[in-house]
């Protein structure tokens, strides 16, 4: 009998899986007749079916608070598991996905029977994939996303210890989990030391205390803010008071009611105003993308506090997440995953076509490709926002005008409806390529 079967039986017998699924911390599972997979997995003892998740995201796309929520979920599950004599084989952040702003654990085969005295095998991985990326932002004020995307295993203690300021050693948790761990890892090169370490035992109470201490510490971590940035700056942009925002909101609401999308993509979501308008008008899940870490952070907190099924993720539209990992298929790129039932790109295209010098026709085609129907906004050159982008540079964009925009959009989709929403001449286009 394969090893995993004994663990599977023990873990299911403990009631842990049922409890976690009931608390929505673990993705659900149904036991199927093994014969269903006979052609692919002959002799399989168990065949499990999980519900399909609406959208897959990766830790290098999460906001600080999303990564923190994922870290806390992992620790909560470990603590609940240990009470039932179950432990986890690893602590990878890729075992967590988000449904709206709620993290959910997806690898139900990570659980195994706990042996008295065993170490937390995933501790180092937990530090690299959760704690160290969070500290980079909490202590140094640098978002984890770019580094994490370049190093899929996260940030090592050795690397981070070179960057954290000296005073951060005053924190017991930073001192031990980063500085001491890095030093111990660097020094432990002789086989004698490694053999001795392998032979050590961790008493259960010590294991519990480590988990408890980390949970308490991580729960208190906050992103280090620039003195200029406050969450209220993002909140003030949300006022629907001004007429333009109201018109846009109405347009998105009408569009969403007509399309009734399951997955609504909001490219350039800011703190999520229009995603929330879509959710209030029949969209099941809104996934937003933005470049601004502050906006993402605010959007995520808002989704949690208002219980919105909205997940804001980090995206540099000029350089989206690529296919990467093993064989370049392990972690899919943005383009392959960003397929929705509806897409909107409001106050976005001028940033790409003008600030980033991207060809207007390609930007429009890129957005239209994400969903069969959507709403795109054209911002004319005389608009204050575009003027700001052109302030310090030459205007090389002779063909950036409404006619050209309509021509390009018309060449890849049918324009269902359009509406001018500002005095400067901003126009919303509802397209359908179905």
């Amino acid at each position: 009998m394969p090893l995993a079967v004994a663990d599977y039986d023990f873990v299911r017998g403990s009631g842990l899986v049922n409890d976690l699924v009931a608390e929505q911390k673990l993705v659900g599972e149904t036991l199927l007749e093994p014969s269903i997979l006979a052609a692919h997995a002959q002799g399989a003892h168990y065949v499990l079916e999980h519900p399909r998740l609406p959208f897959i995201s990766y830790p290098y796309e999460w906001s600080f608070s999303a990564l923190k929520a994922a870290a806390l979920l992992h620790l909560d599950i470990q603590q609940a598991a240990l009470k039932k004599d179950v432990t986890m084989t690893d602590a990878t952040a890729y075992n967590i996905q988000f449904i709206g702003p709620q993290p959910v654990f997806i690898d139900s085969l990570s659980f195994q029977r706990y042996t008295e005295g065993e170490y937390w095998a995933g501790h180092r991985q937990f530090c690299e994939q959760f704690i160290n990326p969070l500290l980079l932002r909490a202590v140094n004020g640098i978002p984890h996303n770019a580094w994490y995307r370049g190093e899929l295993e996260g940030i090592s203690a050795q690397d981070l210890s070179k960057l954290l300021p000296w005073r951060s050693r005053l924190s017991w948790n930073v001192l031990t989990n980063v500085f001491m761990q890095a030093r111990l890892q660097n020094n432990a090169t002789s086989t004698a030391v490694i053999d001795k370490a392998k032979a050590r035992k961790l008493p259960r109470i010590g294991y519990e205390q480590i988990l408890y201490g980390l949970r308490k510490w991580i729960a208190g971590l906050e992103p280090k803010m620039d003195s200029k940035t406050v969450w209220q700056d993002y909140a003030s942009d949300n006022s629907y008071a001004d007429e333009e925002a109201q018109k846009k909101r109405r347009f998105v609401a009408d569009f969403t009611r007509a399309v009734a999308p399951k997955v609504f993509l909001d490219i350039g979501c800011n703190s999520g105003d229009y995603s929330i308008a879509a959710l209030e008008n029949g969209a099941e899940l809104a996934v937003g993308f933005d470049f601004d870490h502050g906006a993402l952070e605010y959007g995520y907190r808002r989704a949690v506090s208002e219980s919105r099924n909205f997940l804001p993720l980090h995206l540099d539209a000029a350089n989206p997440s690529p296919n990467q990992g093993w064989s370049q298929t392990e972690r899919k790129g943005f383009q392959e995953r960003a397929k929705g039932d509806a897409v909107i790109g409001l106050a976005l295209i001028h940033h790409l076509a003008i600030a980033k010098n991207l060809p207007l026709n390609e930007v429009i085609a890129w957005l239209v490709d994400m969903a069969p129907q959507g709403v795109l906004e054209f911002v004319p050159k005389n608009d204050a926002m575009v003027q700001r982008l052109l302030q310090m540079r030459e205007d090389l964009f002779a063909d950036y005008d409404q006619d050209t925009f309509e021509k390009y959009l018309g060449s890849c989709a049918r324009i269902v409806k359009s509406e001018t929403v500002s005095a400067s001449g901003r126009v919303l286009y509802w397209f359908d390529r179905g």
């Binding site: 065993e118 170490y119 930073v174 989990n177 001795k196 050590r200 008493p203 010590g206 201490g213």
Partner: protein, 82 residues
């Protein structure tokens, strides 16, 4: 109850320092992490023992049973903050 806890802590301290059979994991846990965990566990357990004796001492002077001191304490968990 307190005696039992004391025994549990003492056994745990012993376990921290005694060598035993190697274990095999799905993941390379990292030697630094293992040594660190044994240090952290040792400290946590030692603090647990100190706390226990502290409550017994307090109980001795206040005339309360150490059991009720322990359950009175809202901070019964071992402190391990930054």
């Amino acid at each position: 109850m307190v005696v039992k806890k004391g025994l549990q802590f003492s056994a745990a301290i012993l376990a921290c320092t005694v060598l035993a059979a190697p274990s095999h994991a799905y993941l390379d846990p990292g030697t630094g992490s293992i040594i660190l965990q044994s240090i952290l566990a040792g400290i946590a357990v030692a603090m647990g023992v100190l706390r226990l004796y502290w409550y017994r001492l307090k109980a001795f002077f206040s005339g309360k049973t150490s059991e009720s001191e322990l359950s009175d304490s809202k901070d019964a968990e071992i402190r391990n903050e930054s």
